[in-house]
Subunit: 366 residues, 4 copies
């Protein structure tokens, strides 16, 4: 069968013919339908992700951590024909959080991640998986359900943010909602877009920023969903003047080191800053007065990673809701589909991001 | 303008011509589109709801607490043409929970409820409302959005149940979800149906029961959504044998006094029983041994009432998701539409429940 | 060595000479200092506790689940001479709550309890224990530290009650405390006394009730701690008239079946009833109207069992605080000390409760 | 009557004869017994606290936010002779958190603080106060109860830290306690000492650090309480080697800008850094790799301020417990008592910190 293979830390990616996987007891046979490509895949193929590594005792890794597939045979609670999505991070088996099914909070660091570190990914025609890690996909959202994996990370992130904010006796508005709470999302890529939709779904007022104007696709989404936009090319002073302080700031810029001292002073009393994007360079610098202000205002900074099975399930429900509420947005998020047969194009889209890309998906079968 | 009027505790309902409401500053003018009818309305018109009362200083009450309408003029953050749903319970103004926008937990009992006690309802052509109590309705769900009011009560109920269960260190399964948790819903009317859909949305395994077989419509829903059915005409022993104990039991039967001693022993360790339906007669009886078991198993019984604005907002999102995931179910839930012009029929459906009714709506305008 | 031995379900208790325990690797050798006697012990020796059973493969059980001892040899993080108290319930090993150290929420029911079911207790001169289940006792409270075991059950109970009440957006007063919240404790025995002290420590206003006047010892405690007393010999109507409704009711009467319909109507909006004492007979009866009121007022009933290691640690801190704040009360709680050498008296106090007893302790060594 | 008066931003402090306060309806007359001095007082008298300001319309401010006093006349629920401590921060009256009695989370910044900004403090012979802001002091701890004010800030801080950590599904150990969790406290002044005692009380393993060796008094406390010490004069590398990473780091150094890049890498997976001390100078600098690690490890940084009435009540209970458990420590914490009659010495101790000072108290009456 075909599979997309990498040999980290070597640069490059190849499509290779591998042996079909052997059946395993109590595991579900899955035929892959689509796989999505994300920034992490590109870091791997470009040799930049230091944590990338093949399964133990092997020199290659099958790529891909965003996938939906179809169950090939009845097994273990699943029926032939059901559409499923695998959870990508699997626990260390030792720590308490992994034992209770929450390897997003693994304390040993010995978890594995399909298609990234220590476990083969999903860019292949078939594989077998433990039913424990399979999430049912409603049939009606299958065309864009591959978004549920990146969305799961943001479901977990917002859940964690709201959990942290329970530290504040009252963080809801005088009507019990979040409607008066202002959220600022830095970055308008896939992560920035998905968290904006989610924040809106939870009732927040949402501002999105980029250092350039929105493109047409982004403008369509912002209008349909009701997102406010601010061009931060000249910094954030104008935003503070116009809108005031923010209750929640979500960094999806991968460049927080460069903007920290501009962005942190935008936090309101009791406000929270969520860091999701990994900064790739730079040095964060904060004056003692800015740090004082952070303390004085009871602010929180929280590092955010990885969604788990409950968050995949929440993502399916939200994608289904968005299909109804924001049909243009949902459509716009799938930037391109490339059939696996078109190997040259597949390699091209894995290596390089398209302009205005939100999600490119590889089609393995129908 | 036309309005549906009651004079509790008198039996009966009339459609009367009332003066149009006067504009009020900082209030939004709303033209009613649809109103829903529920069991509480029927208790009022049949003189059985002892808490029913007109606004102070008046002998009549406009009926109706389930409505969607359209904004007639730009005002106070709302734009002409937006579709909105009003929150029905309004706070006492004194207690802390009402001050923070959560009159569902009012501690004085001095709250009012539109169309029920102390405040006019929504069965009229026009009215003005405080923007604080208006919830935006996504345009794409407007045909069945009237379900969001009863659903809001169940959003709140499930939220409260899950909050209570945080008393248990781990109440999720070994994959972090609720997929292994068994829920039993007693009653297959509108409340039973809505809570079943919601429990399924949150990942629970759901059993529904009634003392008769399901009708066609109910069977359609159960199949599409994936609900298991048990006929409890001969009690619950067979259910325990077949399925075992339940982690969550939700009473929507209005007859819990009669079944308590059969149902409570079905609770699993750490299980919770939610009481939503008001029992109308009977005497609950429990032996000391059954009470011992409840203590020994760390069970909880919780009384559940009223959803507030955050729950209306959650309801909108879930209705939008269900339209995608379970289209037949969403369609089946609107049993009948009656135009306000057909006064005889309107009065008929307000006085008497239809067979297999989930929701009957009165159409005021388009 | 000497040990107190029972053979459930046979009535009676004997003091027998048993072989000293063998050393076990990574277990701490403990010399028992004191053991407490409680109602459960008396149910066992009187053949009334149906769950009482010896360890597998044995016909006798060493009694005792309340004990403090001294470490005999340095081992496994403990030093010779440290005073420790063992946790009495040990987990099933399978369910998630037991895996994370919280067998108080065991979901299989396969836990064991030292001195009660499936595991030898602490009424013996020496034994070995896993350091995981040993709680350090501050030296300065050793004279009454045996109270920490029953107190741990109530620490857990109040923790669970407060966790459940987080369902209410605001359940604290307008100064952020519980000072305006009224608690009613039914029963003035050891359980009633300890929970009253704890509720007072958390800032509640506390009423205690009994069907007779307080005796001198109880009056001393009530005065020092600041507890209000109500004689319920003629029911609870007078209490409601005098004080109004209660936010928290704690049943420590072992007779809730008989008083349910009098006590439940005392619950305030959002109020909670904690059931701790096991009713021993009777039939609970509630009218549909009383059940309606429970729902309408958003009340909760919760079954409460067993404290675990974190609750033992909290109990040590509270006993230390009470020694400072309420010295007469702490002193009054140890009703009698009986040396193990006085075998006749030991058997007598195990079989029969003393008048006005709070805690009788057997002294094994100094 | 005598009072300690400041005129911020002027440097200096004077003891002046002021008019006795007039009685106010429903306010309690209080005779001050002791007042404590803290770093904030010294910033005020040295003209360094920019937020210091007199009540509106006045040019002077009575100093002092740590005090205990005695009730002079029965009033409003308090009895003559009761010992009380006033809460120092009072709310803005507008925001929801202030309305529910939690001005520690005020969102307008318009709160006032007795003896600091906008409200007279407690360094005077008599004053009247609203009963809402008075906390009862157990008589037996009155000699050191003035510590309860600074301790309340740390009760709140640890409560908030534990609330934030509920974001982690399991942050307790495999016995349900915090006994395996390592806490690092930076700074051994009053704040560092009090938080160390509190962390120990909650079951954490605690390391304390300073850039010098402990003095005798500090060593006495560390030994009695069981705190580990690390001398950080040469940085923190040795600590990481010896102990590993920490689950909780608490900065009480007022110099976090200088040590951030050494200290943040000590955080364990899911670890939290609490910032309490206000950095007075310097520039915090973090590399992108250190920021990546913070995100990857799901760390949190939280700014911590101000305890409120519930935290004062908790502080009283803990001081009472510590008197029993750690008598030498409690004694050591009151460094010196100065009678108000000795005006020169009073001014001296307000202006300048003593060597090894934990708490200096001014005695106003007995």
């Amino acid at each position: 069968m075909k599979a997309v293979v990498v040999r980290p830390p070597k640069v490059g990616v190849s499509i290779e013919e591998l042996k079909e996987p052997e059946p395993e007891p109590n595991k579900v046979k899955i035929r892959i339908l689509n796989t999505g490509i994300c920034g992490t895949d590109r870091e791997i193929v470009n040799g930049k992700l230091i944590t990338a590594r093949p399964p133990n005792g092997r020199d290659y890794l099958i790529l891909g951590h965003e996938a939906i597939g179809v169950v090939e045979e009845n097994c273990c609670g699943f029926k032939k024909g059901e559409i499923v999505m695998p959870v990508n991070r699997r626990g260390c088996g030792h720590c308490l959080n992994c034992q209770i099914g929450r390897p997003d909070f693994c304390e040993t660091g010995e978890f594995v991640e399909a298609g990234i570190s220590g476990l083969d990914g999903f860019m292949r025609e078939y594989y077998y998986d433990d039913p424990k890690w399979l999430v049912r996909v409603p049939y009606e959202i299958k065309d864009f359900a591959v978004m549920a994996q990146p969305l799961s990370d943001l479901e977990k992130s917002l859940e964690e943010i709201l959990n942290v904010q329970k530290r504040v006796p009252i963080w809801t508005c005088d009507d019990g909602t979040y409607n008066c709470r202002k959220a600022l999302v830095i970055g308008t890529g896939p992560v920035g877009t998905l968290i904006s939709l989610l924040l809106k779904t939870y009732g927040f007022e949402v501002w999105i920023t980029n250092r350039r104007e929105l493109n047409d696709m982004e403008r369509t989404i912002a209008e349909e969903v009701g997102l406010e936009f601010y061009n931060s090319a000249n910094g954030y002073d104008g935003l503070k003047e116009k809108v005031g302080r923010f209750d929640l700031i979500f960094d999806a810029s991968n460049a927080f080191t460069y903007i920290a001292s501009q962005v942190l002073p935008l936090l309101n009393y009791n406000g929270i800053l969520g860091l999701f994007g990994f900064p790739q360079s730079g040095q964060l610098s904060l004056s003692y007065a800015e740090l004082q202000s952070l303390i004085f205002r009871s602010n929180v900074i929280v590092g955010l990673v990885n969604g788990q099975k409950p968050h995949f399930e929440m993502a399916m429900v939200h994608l289904a809701a968005w299909k109804t509420m924001w049909p243009k947005t949902v459509k716009a998020m799938i930037t391109k589909e490339v059939p696996i047969e078109d190997e040259k194009e597949v390699k091209e889209v894995i290596m390089n991001k398209l302009p205005s890309e939100i999600k490119v998906k590889i089609v393995w079968s129908k």
